[in-house]
Each structure stands twice: as structure tokens, then as C-alpha cells.
Subunit: 346 residues, 2 copies
């Protein structure tokens, strides 16, 4: 389902008919308004984003002329927001994450906003539930007296299995969910300090925003911006300088890395079967089966008899069947398709 033309965030992987993107924006409703909600997306997906988020003003959909990693995308949004309101507090959230308890998530972000108002670069850290090697970690320092957040001492890359176990045992490590909350003036000052070229570039683009020169300036400057993640470019250095703090959260976070974890997050029936896009017709027919993750997306009936712990994905031009514990190896399949030149399926 998550092909080049239609990536994960555009799909209804939420247990309802909402796409991950739509669910992300809906989750923000208690915190902000559509007027103050911006989306940054690649040229290939703008049309789909504009159609899925009908409540968003068109000028709030920012188009990256080419992929230049997260720092350029987030910095562009920060500069455009700063041009509207120089003291605004901005939150940055990926559109392909699932959150089981949105109310708890809102409370966590509200705590982060309070830290941001005081001038900290805030992150949301996830209390780890297992020694996951697929995520980065935040190493926290001392509890700040009386405040609900903790100083972030260091950003840690994805660890090996042993290190991950040590992290979880330490009680001081949180998963880095790449959720950021900061005052735009504070973030842009930190960007200017660590990445002056990137800062100058996005400020120049923001100055042309909404003028007849917008596309011209964006097209000229964007390709020159450094291609770097915001973690490397800004957050690690800011943590060293003591400017990053985190609010630990526990709201059933999942980055929808694969269908197996998706099956763990979404509501299952009595037999433990999870069906995605439940309103798809003609739907699914499951007999004597349990712990399945079934994704009917082709308009065909999907029938399963007498099987356990499988993933079944049916799309118009491909069917995937695999054990749930092999879900992570789907990427290897994709690589093999690429090697065979079957780019149409990738």
C-alpha cells in the first residue's frame, strides 16, 4: 500500500476511514485551529494532501520543491510562521504516527508548550515499553525541580540490542518520537547559531512568501539548503548547550513501522483479528482464524480459513501474505523487486 505514489500517511491505517494524515490533524483540534495548522509535503503529494485536508487554507500547505530532509522542511515552516507571528509557539509532528490515547497526548503537548514558552526547545519522549532497536533515544539528565519535564543530555542513535536493554534498564532513556515544540524565535536563533546558511535561506524564502516571487525564490534557494535532519542539525547541539528538555509521554505511540505493530495498536475483534479500513466493501470473511492483520484495499473479498498470526494485504495489483513476525522483512522484498526492475510495485 505504501508505494511511491501514495505513501503511508495518505492511507487509512487508523482503524477508521481517516488517513494517518487526517488523524494527525484531527488530533491537533484541542490545541490549535486549521488557520494555524501547516503541512509541509513533497511535490508528489500536495494534491492528495490538499484533498484530504479540506479544512486547511491553501496557503498553509507548504510544498518542498525537492526532498531536503527534516531540518529544511521544519525550518521553512518555522520561518513562515515567524513571519505571521514572531513569538508563536510551534509544534512539529510527523503525519505517519498512530496514537492510542489522543487526550493523554494533548496533555503531554500542553506541558511541552509551557516549557517552550519559557524558551526551551521541547521534545516529547516516549517511555519505552521494550528494548526497541528501531528507534533513537533521548538520554535525560536530572529532573528539573518541580517541573514536569526533564533536561535532555544527549540524542542517541538507534542502538544495538544490548545497548537498548541497558537504556530501558537505566530509567533515564526515552524513545525519540521526533515531536518538537518550541517558540519559533528560539528555534530560529538556534538554527542561526548552528546552521547559518540554512537559516539565511529559509528567512529569505519566508520574506518572499505570498508575493509574486514566492515560487521563484523558493526554487532558487531550496536546492542550495543543506540536506540534514533536524536532530543532527539543531537538536543535538542544542542539547549539549542545555537548551533541550523533554516531557515523558505514555499515550500508546506507534510510528506504524509495519503491519505487525499496527495490529498491536488497533482494536481487535474477539479472536484478535485486526481489519484495516473496515468500511471497505465487500470486506473480509474470516473463519477459524485468529491474530490476523487483514488489509482489504482492492474491492475484492478477502477470505481466510484456519490460519493464525498472519498478515494479508490485498491491493489492486499485488497481494502480500506473511507471518506477523516477518513483517519487518517486507522491506527486503521491496529491495528485491527493485533489483528485478519491478519499480511499479515499489
Amino acid at each position: 500500500m505504501s508505494r511511491a505514489g501514495h505513501p503511508k500517511f495518505l492511507h487509512p491505517l487508523t482503524g477508521t476511514s481517516a488517513s494517518l494524515l487526517q488523524a494527525t490533524v484531527e488530533r491537533l483540534a484541542p490545541l490549535t485551529t486549521p488557520d494555524r495548522t501547516l503541512v509541509v509535503t513533497g511535490a508528489a503529494h500536495v494534491a492528495a494532501v490538499a484533498r484530504q485536508l479540506t479544512g486547511l487554507p491553501e496557503e498553509n500547505i507548504l510544498v518542498e520543491p525537492s526532498p531536503r530532509d527534516s531540518c529544511a522542511a521544519i525550518a521553512l515552516a518555522a520561518a513562515v510562521i515567524a513571519a505571521r507571528d514572531p513569538n508563536a509557539v510551534m509544534g512539529s509532528f510527523a503525519a505517519d504516527h498512530l496514537i492510542r490515547d489522543p487526550d493523554s497526548w494533548v496533555r503531554t503537548v500542553q506541558e511541552a508548550v509551557r516549557g517552550a514558552e519559557q524558551g526551551m526547545l521541547m521534545t516529547v519522549g516516549i517511555t519505552p515499553t521494550r528494548p526497541e532497536t528501531g528507534y533513537g533515544y533521548l538520554e535525560t539528565g536530572e529532573d528539573t525541580d518541580g517541573s514536569p519535564w526533564r533536561q535532555v543530555a544527549e540524542f542517541k542513535e538507534k542502538p544495538g540490542a544490548e545497548v537498548a536493554e541497558a537504556y530501558v534498564r537505566s530509567g533515564r532513556h526515552l524513545w525519540n518520537a521526533s515531536m518538537f515544540v518550541w517558540r519559533v524565535d528560539v528555534f530560529l536563533a538556534e538554527l542561526a547559531r548552528q546552521q547559518p546558511a540554512l537559516h539565511a535561506g529559509v528567512v529569505a524564502i519566508a520574506a518572499a512568501w505570498g508575493t509574486p516571487e514566492q515560487d521563484e525564490v523558493l526554487g532558487a534557494i531550496w536546492p542550495t539548503l543543506p540536506k540534514i535532519s533536524v536532530d543532527y542539525a539543531v537538536m543535538e547541539g542544542a542539547a549539549t548547550a542545555g537548551r533541550v528538555a523533554t516531557v515523558p509521554g505514555d499515550f500508546g505511540w506507534n510510528d506504524v513501522g509495519d503491519f505487525h505493530t499496527l495490529g498491536d495498536v488497533l482494536p481487535a475483534d474477539d479472536a484478535g483479528n485486526v481489519v484495516l479500513g473496515t468500511d471497505a466493501k465487500p470486506g473480509v470473511l474470516l473463519r477459524d482464524s485468529s491474530n490476523l492483520v487483514v488489509v482489504p484495499q482492492s474491492g475484492r473479498l478477502v477470505a481466510v480459513l484456519g490460519l493464525q498470526d498472519l498478515i494479508v494485504v490485498d491491493t489492486p495489483d499485488a497481494v502480500l501474505v506473511c507471518p506477523r513476525d516477518r513483517a519487518q522483512d517486507v522491506k527486503a522484498l521491496v529491495d528485491e523487486l527493485k533489483e528485478r526492475g519491478e519499480e511499479g510495485y515499489v
Copy 2:
């Protein structure tokens, strides 16, 4: 109304609630299907385009990462179409033209399609009704025996007043409406001959289209493409080589250069008043007035008493009033606003 954020083609300047863009696509209905209709647009407008053209598949909305003039835009569309169907006949039409007689326009384009199928690069030429100095002209050669089209000998730039009068007298000159019809293989071959770098670039982009590398390849190659109009880059040289022909058309063409000409094209009431966006509330109140062009776009009532030959445009943040024969000087006003740093109104 036609500001940077919302250019002319997105506005309902058609006498109905349809925007110029929507009217352009509707006009194509007898000739093609939404599946075979592509739009090329700048990053700043893709969200609006996607929302106005709800019937168009998302993958048919092509985004220019930056403005690189008409040749790159048209060549990109040609290459993407050729990847789907190498022998397709393609028509290229601006989205900001008004056409009073769509049925006659369809018949003219159908004639052009026949010429295109025989391997000619076809244009649609407009029989001039006045010695217009604001348009380019096509100088036609001999009538082709028995065929409804004429050879194009030369493309002529916007002339001075005397030259324009000579053109109209000659009977051999047509307005260049920048409407093109050709087989994509013929156009791409001519592009390869005259603009090999541009040809290689769009072919490489089209090869990555729909793959995970689409935005990456588009973003890398697009800024390197020559910034040149399709007239200069391809059509003039092709005309010299005897490969361009034109079908003269007479269907009430107007490029919506200003509100005065718009008033001439759209249906007027008995007093000669033209109101644009007639379904806007609370609308207009005209007494003892005639030959007005009134554009109510702010939600306010627009009332005019005892005046003739004026243009009145009311938008949420600006009101414009001027005589119809000064409509072309609005651009000078815009330049003055720019000089005064009032970019928000431009």
C-alpha cells in the same frame, strides 16, 4: 483579485461560478477524459488546483518545483504523456483564456488533431479583429491544398501599432493564442533536435515519474533546465523547417488581459453592465448606470449610481475603480505598489 497568492486562472472570471481553470477543463470534455487531462502548475498553486479540479486524478497534477517558462512545463507534460502512450496526441492550452463559443473551439481543435496525427506541430491561430499590439502573431504561408490548415512561415513577436495594422491588412497574419496540438513523439523529436539538454532532462524526469525517486530526480534536474518559452525554443525553429501549421479559429477568444476586454466577452444586461461572479451575495445595486464591469468579491454590497464605462472591483482588502479605457494601466498601479513596498497588495 489576481494576486500572487491567487492568480487569474483560479478566479471565477467566466460569467458563471466556474474559475477560468475549471472552464478550461470543462471545455475539453468533448475531446478527452479526466484520466487523460494533465495540469502543470507552480508549487504555490497546486493545492488550489487540486481542490478546484476534483475530477482529475492526483497523479495528473504536475508540479513545477520553480518557474522555468513554458518550454520546460510543456515538455515535462509531453514526456510524462509519452511514458504512458508514446503515440498520443497532446494539446496544450493556457488556463486563463476565455472562449465565447466552446463548440466552435472544439471543432477547431479537432481539425488541429487531424494535422497532428499526420506529423505536423499544430497551432490554433485567431483571426484578428483589431490591430492588437499586445499579442504575438503567426505569419502563414500558402494554403495547403484541400486541407483546412495553413503552413506557418514565421512566429512574430508583439508588433508596434503600424506593423500590427499591416499584419491585419495582409490577411496572412493570425494572433498566436499559444494553443498547441501535436503527437508527443513528434514534439519530443523536435525538442531533442533544437534543445537536447531540455529533452534529456524531461526524459530523465519522466523515467522516474511514479517511482520513489520522483521528487528527488525532479528536484535535481528541474533547476538545470533552460528557462525559455516553447515559442522561442521549439516552434520558431520548427516553423523554419516547415513543420508547423495552424488552423484559423474564430470562436471569441480572449486572454483575459484586463477587465475591459472581459466586459466585452461576457454577457451583459440591457444597460451593458457586466457583473462577474453573479452568485456572490449580497451582490450589486446598479442605478442609472451603463457599460460597467463590476466584480463583487468581498461579501459587501457594491452600489453604483449614475455612472458609465467604469470598472469597479471590490475584494476583501482593496477596492479598485477606474474607467474601462484605463484598464491596461492597472499594471502600472501594481508596479507603484511594489515600489512603495506594499507587496501584500500585489
